[in-house]
């Protein structure tokens, strides 16, 4: 059952990203990305991380993608943009993708080879995660609040229209 669910979600995720590459409509791209993030949330659930799965769906598939859709609405391209037809760009991207695939694959292989400790089950319940967040990662957590303030102020200052511009 678990394996079936994994392959279903993985297929959904990869398929919607491929659909994003093929489709020319930005709104369709955003919706396909929502599908991909939601299925990734399901995969996080399969990996014993229920809290992160919920955060993924609420923040990523909810908040961030709604932000994207708002911007798509404001920018409003009349006709879609055709994907890149220059042959060297496709070659470059395929080459880079294969390069990173091989490099990361080697890294992952090394990691998995060294990971032979069969640890106990670590289910990421909100209680455990919260305890870890407020003990071991307290400084990082507090600095995150600074980051969010900076992003908030930065976004407002960037988009604000000046008075004389109307």
């Amino acid at each position: 059952m678990g394996t079936f669910l994994f392959f279903l979600l993985a297929l959904l995720c990869v398929g919607s990203v491929i659909g994003m590459i093929i489709s020319r409509n930005q709104a369709h791209n955003a919706l396909l990305l929502v599908l991909s993030f939601a299925s990734l949330g399901g995969l996080f659930g399969l990996l014993d991380a229920p809290f992160i799965a919920a955060v993924q769906i609420i923040i990523y598939a909810g908040a961030i993608m709604v932000l994207f859709i708002f911007v798509i609405m404001m920018v409003n391209l009349k006709e879609g943009i055709r994907p890149e037809r220059k042959i060297w760009t496709i070659r470059l991207s395929a080459g880079l993708a294969v390069f990173f695939l091989v490099e990361l694959g080697l890294a992952v292989k090394g990691t998995l080879a060294s990971l032979r400790v069969e640890a106990g089950p670590a289910i990421g319940s909100p209680t455990d995660l919260g305890r870890l967040l407020f003990t071991d990662y307290l400084y990082a957590f507090e600095i995150t609040s600074l980051l969010i303030i900076a992003a908030l102020v930065g976004a407002i200052v960037l988009v604000k229209k000046k008075k004389d511009e109307g």
Binding site: L67, E84, V108
Partner: protein
Amino acid sequence: MIPVSYFFGLSLILFALGIIAFFIKRDLITMFMAVEVMLNAANLAFISLAKASGSLSGQVIVFFIITVAAAEAAIGLAIILLVFRQRKTIKTEEFRLMKG
């Protein structure tokens, strides 16, 4: 149970697809979405590693990555709006200020 290497493989495939989408797409918004795909591939790798090593630290780091991604999306989309307001387009081939 499902072996962790499956999840790692999926994460690698997602990362490669993100790279391809970033270079093939020609509007800023979709390129930005491709970056989000790559971030999510990293998240998946972190969580599968947390599962494999039996420690919760990987999940906490994913929590931080999601926060940073939200901040990054807010700033990045603000910049895209700014660019659109000045140049009236978001196609990347129209931005050739530095081409000489």
